[in-house]
């Protein structure tokens, strides 16, 4: 049987980095094929080559046995490929149907045939079980529904090979089951699905075959039925998973971060934070588990002082900071590792020293009254670079020269260096290589040992479970459950994250 999509010997190099080193992959028609690998293994590069977003340096591609070359995604689309990216590419202010038919609009005279467009969208939705309202404005839709729009886009363009990049990262468990049902309908119809993920349980649940990438090469290739999670993990990282950092025995001390009845509102939709209350004590790590989009971002913004809450109370180290801005929160004793290190956590054109100084730059040693002590700033930076093992040419080098993992280490270093009583870490290891993940986790555990109050917010459930003493599940703006970290298990928390609701699609 000729594979629906096949690549041989794909090579791609970025400067000194060999992202894909001779990759072979074949996807049959009617098959769900999982592509697995850790961050930096080369999955994203390979997918972008498959979809025509960039050309390979070497290697060949075959579609239904015919040799093809994609010069752009338009070529890939014409060949029947469709891609749903991890970060959606939708037009927020446009409607569902406008998003779906964009670029391939049905016409009547010189105008768009709106009726035909709506009908086409509705027909596809019904056929594959993707419930959407064609006239809804995409901005107002939940993440799960937006993903359906993305899938509809590919189906509208007659995609027969669907590439999904980390599709379940943003879905609740019921939404994930709904997605799997759609995928099964698609492959039953003869389409193929390429499913890029690092989630083991999903690979076991939905895929027919698995290709594991490691360091840019194919480390293993097997039928899902014939393998096991442990085998796959070993192929991914070359060894078994490291054990999580040990917990200290001492009980937590006094409350350092107190949140009571916090409300954050947004116009046109239900409040992202709808009455959240919890406390974090000295010497404990509290983890907030929740699928992205349930209010965590707004909650953290309010806790860090980047957003004024619309109701409730936040106290840091005993001081009421509800009405205070970021400076006020920091002054009260809060440090914050933001989710987006590039857009919020650093300024890439500024030097490492300047990046390492911000947040605590109004106090000694960096400031003397109103004056800046640049020598002290540089010395401080050198100290931190050494202590946290940040790979950089020097403290004067711009932060933009750092790799993702090292940039994150810089941010963590800066925030930890001041030993603030309260630390909030948001998605602390997103996009970071395995080695840096271990370092950062160890540092967070060290914070706990040093009797600080740590709040970790992460969409990676395994990370939450590995680190936290207590786990809070967040769903639709509320904390719906709390449990002890050691006792919690993935399935239980996952169900809680879904809000204890029945299979609502």
């Amino acid at each position: 049987m000729v594979p629906a999509l096949e690549v041989r010997g794909i090579v791609k190099r970025y400067g000194g980095l060999l992202a894909n080193d001779g990759i072979d992959l074949a996807v049959a028609a009617g098959e769900v094929h999982a592509v697995m690998g850790e961050n930096g293994a080369g999955k994203t590069t390979l997918m972008s080559i498959l979809y025509g977003l960039q050309p390979p340096d070497a290697g060949e591609m075959f579609r239904d046995g015919r040799w093809v070359r994609f010069r752009s995604s338009a070529d890939a689309i014409a060949a029947g490929l469709g891609m749903v990216h991890q970060a959606f590419r939708l037009f927020g202010s446009l409607t569902v149907w406008e998003n779906v038919v964009y670029g391939r609009e049905p016409r009547r005279g010189g105008f768009i045939d709106r009726r035909a467009a709506r009908e086409a969208v509705a027909a596809l939705a019904v056929r594959y079980g993707l419930a959407v309202a064609p006239d809804a404005v995409v901005d107002r839709l939940s993440v799960g529904v937006r993903q359906r729009v993305e899938i509809l886009k590919t189906l509208y363009r007659r995609a027969r090979v669907l590439i999904l990049d980390e599709p379940t990262a943003v879905l609740t468990p019921p939404e994930r089951e709904a997605l799997f049902a759609v995928l099964r309908a698609l492959v039953a119809d003869g389409s193929s699905v390429l499913f890029v993920t690092h989630k083991l349980d999903e690979v076991m649940a939905i895929s027919d075959r698995v290709t594991v990438l490691r360091d840019g090469r194919v480390a293993a290739h097997m039928a899902t039925r014939e393998t096991s999670p442990r085998e796959i993990v070993r192929a991914m990282i070359g060894r078994s998973l490291p054990p999580p950092p040990p917990r200290t025995g001492e009980p937590p001390g006094e409350v350092r971060l107190e949140v009571r009845d916090l409300f954050v509102r947004a116009p046109g939709r239900p409040p992202p934070v709808a009455g959240v209350s919890f406390a974090v004590r000295a010497g404990e790590i509290v983890g907030i588990a929740g699928v992205a989009g349930n209010g965590q971002t707004e909650l953290v913004e309010a806790l860090a002082g980047l957003r004024r809450p619309d109701g409730g109370r936040v106290a840091v180290n005993g001081r009421d900071v509800t009405a205070a801005d970021a400076a006020g929160h920091r002054a009260a004793g809060l440090a914050y590792v933001p989710e987006d290190r590039a857009a919020v956590g650093t300024a890439r054109a500024a030097s490492a020293a300047e990046n390492l100084a911000l947040g605590f730059h109004r106090a000694p040693p960096i400031a003397r009254g109103r004056l800046l002590d640049r020598a002290a700033m540089r010395a401080w930076a050198r100290q931190l670079i050494a202590r946290f093992d940040i790979r950089i040419a020097g403290e004067r080098s711009p932060a933009g020269t750092l790799s993702g993992g090292n940039l994150q280490k810089l941010v963590v270093a800066r925030e930890l260096a001041h030993a603030a009583p309260v630390l909030i870490a948001e998605q602390p290891t997103r996009g970071v290589d395995v080695g840096a993940i271990a370092t950062i986790h160890a540092q967070l555990a060290a914070e706990r040992a040093a009797r600080r109050a740590v709040l970790v917010v992460s969409a990676e459930l395994s990370e939450i479970l590995a680190l936290s003493d207590r786990v809070l599940a967040m769903f639709e703006g509320r904390i719906i459950a709390e449990c002890d970290g050691a006792a919690a298990d993935e399935e239980g928390i996952g169900a809680l994250m879904a809000g204890r609701r029945a299979e609502a699609a």
Binding site: S73, I77, R89, F91, Y102, G103, E105, P267
Partner: protein, 296 residues
């Protein structure tokens, strides 16, 4: 207040608003495509200069229009390529273009026409006005609509056409997508660069026409920096209208009305320095008042 809003006044306002209208349309379309165009002032000036020069040299208003529009197109190449292909900062490019236009047009007065400051020659042919004979029996409507230049009619027609095209045609949908989320548009096979360049160049034609209307419309003169801030009013109109062609046009009308009222007040003895600033104050007030709508 009764004598304040005469048909003559409205007529003058409509005529004087035309350059701003065309510039605002250009700015709105660029905005829809995701290009922040603050070079409208300079673009208009280039069109005005080219229009006057061509009309003078060829003794024809039509030549003025054609050359003015073409000059606008060519000048817009700077923004079209600078902000898209070369990825320069649109604000810096816009400011640079404004200053280049000002310097270049003033510079060229001496070598080309042997004058400085102002070029006023009886041989410059102005734009003909269209008398609508059908309205001759209705003095009020005639005073309003008869005697406007063709460009004025074209301007309003373009506003309507642009609005329809933007929201009802495939090109319009794609343009809006390009402006809102260029990566999404590119992923769906739409050539973002081409749409942006084409839109900016089309905007160049529009602002070129605006300049021609300004310099060959009611008067036939070119003088240093004659656009006198109209391009910036157009930028504000685009902002107030959130890049929607029709809404921006309405904002232009607001300005035109304030301008006309200012003229009336001037006629009644108020000093020109104060009445001249009325439109700017009105637009500032409109910006402040529209804050909630714009920030939503």
């Amino acid at each position: 207040m009764s004598g304040l809003v005469s048909p003559f006044l409205v007529h003058t306002a409509m005529q004087s608003v035309t350059p701003i209208l065309l510039a605002a349309l250009a700015g709105a379309l660029c905005g829809q495509a995701g290009v922040f165009n603050i070079a409208l002032e300079g673009q208009m000036l280039v069109g005005a200069f080219a229009g006057v020069a061509a009309s003078f040299l060829a003794h024809s208003a039509l030549a003025g229009v054609a050359v003015g529009a073409t000059a606008g197109l060519l000048f817009a190449l700077i923004l079209a390529y600078g902000a898209t292909v070369l990825r320069g900062d649109a604000i810096v490019i816009g400011i640079g273009m404004n200053l280049l236009a000002s310097g270049l047009t003033s510079y060229l007065l001496r070598p080309l026409f042997g004058v400085t400051g102002t070029f006023d020659d009886p041989r410059i042919v102005g734009l003909p006005v269209l008398t609508i004979r059908a309205l001759s029996g209705m003095p009020y409507l005639a005073a309003l609509f008869s005697g406007l230049t063709a460009i004025t009619w074209i301007a309003w027609g373009l506003v309507a056409a642009a609005t329809v095209a933007l929201f009802r045609t495939p090109i319009g949908l794609r343009l809006r997508g390009v402006g809102e989320a260029p990566e999404a548009a590119a992923a769906l096979g739409v050539d973002v660069r081409r749409y942006r360049v084409a839109t900016v160049l089309f905007g160049g034609v529009l602002t070129g026409l605006a300049g021609v209307q300004l310099a060959l419309g009611t008067i036939t003169v070119f003088s240093d920096d004659m656009t006198a801030g109209r391009g910036w009013i157009a930028v504000v109109a685009v902002l107030l209208g959130r890049s929607h062609p029709l809404h921006a046009a309405l904002a232009c009308l607001l300005f035109g009305f304030a301008d006309a009222v200012g003229l009336q007040l001037q006629g009644r003895g108020l000093p020109s320095q104060l009445t001249d600033i009325a439109p700017y104050v009105v637009t500032l007030a409109a910006l402040v008042l529209s804050r909630r709508r714009r920030m939503a």
